[in-house]
């Protein structure tokens, strides 16, 4: 079958084979051939640094050659300077960037910035920063500062997440992940990324402005939120999560601070700095990602095999916190303390309740007090005030990760059965508040209303699937 293939194909392939074998032989040889120690990868690099314009030397002749060349390279060779006409176009752009980067332009001084790259028409159009007016500071994170901002074009409010660029390692990975993942996500319950502005010292992500977050909202309304609002928030959280989980993305850092709440009650998942595509083998997951309070026991016990169920534990914690008004597992000290708090309610796991728990790196049965599992309402009494709330919480707060409900499954839980059926038919970009009779209830501080007395959905209730 291959015999019939054209001879030219073979010759093309042969070229490929040569280079491929070259690189493989390089690896294969290193062990024996001492000269390979220093050239294992240099050979390729020598050629690429400057060898593109020269005949490639036989493998065994390159080493001597290389040393000289490399030295020359280091002293005088500037890959961005080459007087070939054809290359100029390429370089003008690169140089523009270099000049730009080394110039003293600050992001607040568009004048200087414009000054820095006037000559090159192809230069990246950095510096749209002046299309937004920076207002007050909203918060400070580990790698970014968030400001309120205003678009000079349409007057809309935005959130400007200003990320400092490190000299050492270039653009921070958190910024790259957040920008690249959010770019592909268009959903009513995911914060919308409007724009990315790259300047000399900073990278600014321009988000839609959402006026508060769940953490602040709960601080403002202590003692547990209105049960109907809890339901709407949880529904939106699950909707957003289901959307990203279906797209092969984990959030990995769920906590109330990362759930933005608009004045109409829209909830939006934000802060994707630690999120990542689920495509990478789990052995590369760091187990330091989730804030301790919302971190699942399997991760606390050192498991590195985690998946979408990682986020679902956090959902359970947030659900309880919204209803009860206090964090579900507010660990005070360390991982051990965090685990004790979890086991106190859910029972200390064993091989029967959690197959494989004994083989987790940090599971030492003697280190944990033996607790038996309790009803969740014993720990969080307000769960019992709302139909099916305790059941849903217990299906999310499963120590054994495999038993945890998925976001999609949770959306079909009975707890939500009194919501209007149209909520399940919305398109991705439609807010739940486009459905008639779905609206946020005023919070009344301490009030916990007994379920059933509330007719906030009016007709919606009678139409519902219940």
């Amino acid at each position: 079958m291959i015999d019939s293939q054209a001879a030219e194909k073979i010759s093309r392939m042969k070229k490929l084979r040569r280079t491929l074998s070259e690189s493989f032989s390089r690896i294969a040889l290193k062990k024996e051939d001492t000269s390979f120690d220093e050239i294992c990868v240099t050979k390729m690099s020598t050629r690429n640094c400057q060898g593109m314009d020269s005949v490639i030397k036989p493998l065994d002749t390159i080493p001597e050659d290389k040393k000289v060349r490399v030295q020359r390279t280091q002293s005088s060779f500037d890959p961005f300077e080459k007087p070939t006409n054809q290359v100029k176009r390429v370089h003008s752009e690169n140089n523009a960037c270099i000049n730009f980067k080394t110039s003293s332009a600050g992001k607040e001084s568009p004048k200087v910035r414009r000054h820095s790259s006037p000559s090159s028409p192809t230069s990246p159009k950095f510096g749209k920063a002046d299309s937004y007016e920076k207002l007050e500071k909203l918060g400070e994170g580990s790698y970014a500062t968030v400001y309120k901002g205003k678009s000079k074009v349409n007057g809309k409010l935005v959130a400007l997440k200003v990320i400092r660029l490190q000299e050492e390692e270039g653009t921070p990975f958190t910024a790259i992940r957040e920008a690249s993942l959010l770019k592909g996500l268009k959903h009513a319950n995911i914060v919308l990324l409007h724009d990315i502005i790259h300047t000399k010292e900073t990278l600014t992500l321009v988000f839609e402005y959402v006026h508060t977050d769940l953490c602040q909202y709960m601080d403002k309304h202590p003692g547990g939120l209105h049960p109907e609002n809890v339901k709407l928030f949880l529904f939106q959280l699950l909707r957003g999560l289901s959307y990203i989980h279906q797209r092969y993305i984990l959030h990995r850092d769920l906590k109330p601070q990362n759930l933005l709440i608009s004045d109409t009650g829209e909830l939006k998942l934000a802060d994707f700095g630690l999120a990542r595509a689920k495509s990478v083998p789990s052995h590369t997951y760091s187990n330091e990602v989730v804030t301790l309070w919302y971190r699942p026991p399997d991760v606390l016990l050192g498991s590195t095999e985690y998946s979408t169920c990682l986020d679902m534990w956090g959902v359970g914690c947030i659900f309880v916190e919204m209803i009860q008004g206090v964090a579900a597992f507010p660990g005070m000290k360390d991982i051990q303390d965090q685990l004790e708090r979890i086991f106190l309610v859910l029972g200390t796991p064993n091989e029967d309740t959690w197959p494989g728990v004994h083989s987790l790196p940090h599971f030492k049965p003697e280190r944990f007090t033996q607790y038996s599992p309790k009803n969740l309402r014993q720990a969080w009494n307000k769960l019992s005030y709302v139909n099916h709330a305790e059941d849903l919480a217990s299906k999310l707060l499963q120590c054994f990760p495999k038993s945890r409900l998925s976001a999609q499954a949770a959306l079909s839980h009975e707890y939500f059965s009194d919501l209007p059926p149209r909520l399940w038919e919305l398109t991705d970009m439609s807010s739940i508040f486009t459905v008639p009779n779905v609206r946020l209830q005023p919070e009344t501080g301490e009030s916990i209303r007994v379920f059933g007395k509330n007719n906030s959905y009016g007709k919606g209730v009678s139409n519902s699937k219940h």
Partner: protein, 330 residues
């Protein structure tokens, strides 16, 4: 032997440090050591874990649909067509170099695939001078790693691998340019994803042979790795390439229950063409392929030469005559 081809063996550790290629810091070598002898070995256990299967049952189908839906958006279109200086040979050499480099750092196959995708898509947008080409290669690798690896290589290490021909500033600037040109669209679907997906489908199916599925995946990953370096394969969508590589792997390993390629959704004609080209690629790289496979796979593959012992003189020889290329410039 395969040990010489990568993993735990000591080649890089013996580097003199002072020369062009300082050795990597200890931290990263740990990852490499656990990565086993070949690229394919490491993630297998984790990806086949019960959680993974569970998540796959819940979401596998929608992951596949969403990734497949993104393919055409991320497919580089004739990346070299408008390049004044960069040639297919140069690209081949660059990627052939990135392959051992990614292994050197213990990086995932996913990161390598993303790096090549970033490279190609950038080439499609911007003319690149030949002397910046290697810088572009490591920059693409750095960006890919920041996207998917927990411990991306340090800029300093990458610069050292280029014999310090470039400065930190140049790399960081190029990083900005690449990110800007690609507008931060980096989450490309990769052949690595589709290899995993088809393998999971196969393992989840009733009567599926898990051992065969794993072996086919290992061999297919090696084949796909080769194909990354060949410009001719940039025309194939990653899902097609993955299906073709698995089909070929099943054939080479004479599996009793090969993957049903119809599940890829491609017409047989396309699959055949892709498999034919891959088979040709494999037959041309017969000596080097075993180096990237986990132990035991190539022995089961009658059409591949047995894994070479210790030194692999054949590979060496073929390296020697791979010289007579002249790269056209200007």
């Amino acid at each position: 032997m395969v040990t010489s081809a990568g993993g735990g063996a000591s080649p890089r550790r013996r580097g003199r440090g002072g020369g062009g290629c300082p050795r990597p810091p200890a931290k990263r070598r740990r990852a490499k050591a656990t990565a086993g002898t070949a690229a394919g070995a490491a993630p297998a256990a984790a990806l086949d874990g019960p959680l993974e299967l569970q998540a796959f049952r819940d979401y596998g189908e929608s992951w596949y649909r969403s990734r497949k839906g993104l393919e055409s958006r991320f497919q580089p279109r004739e990346p070299l067509a408008r390049q004044p200086q960069v040639t297919a040979e140069a690209r081949c050499r660059l990627v052939s170099w990135l392959i051992p480099v990614h292994r050197h750092f213990g990086l995932s196959f996913e990161a390598l695939c993303l790096a090549v995708n970033i490279l190609d898509r950038f080439l499609a947008t911007t003319p690149v001078a030949a002397d910046c080409f290697q810088l572009l290669g490591v920059t693409a690798l750095l960006i890919a790693c920041k996207q998917v690896e927990v411990h991306p290589p340090r800029v300093k290490e990458l610069l050292a691998l280029c014999c310090d021909a470039f400065t930190r500033q140049q790399l960081c600037n190029l990083e900005c340019i690449v990110l800007h040109k690609l507008q931060f669209s980096l989450a490309a679907p990769t052949v690595s994803f589709f290899l995993e997906h088809f393998t999971q489908v196969r393992m989840a199916a009733r009567g599926g042979d898990a051992a065969e599925a794993r072996d086919a995946r290992s061999l297919a990953r090696g084949v796909a790795e080769l194909s990354l370096a060949d410009y001719a394969f940039t025309k194939y969508a990653p899902s097609l390439l993955a299906a073709g590589a698995l089909g070929l792997a099943d054939r080479l390993l004479r599996h009793r229950a090969p993957l049903d390629l119809r599940l890829s959704g491609y017409p047989e004609r396309l699959l055949r063409a892709c498999m034919g080209e891959l088979q040709l690629l494999v037959s041309l790289n017969g000596e080097s392929l075993p180096h990237v496979l986990p132990p035991g796979i190539s022995e089961r593959c009658p059409q591949l030469p047995a894994a070479p012992t210790a030194l692999s003189p054949t590979a060496h020889a073929s390296g020697k005559d791979g010289i007579g290329l002249r790269l056209p410039l200007s």
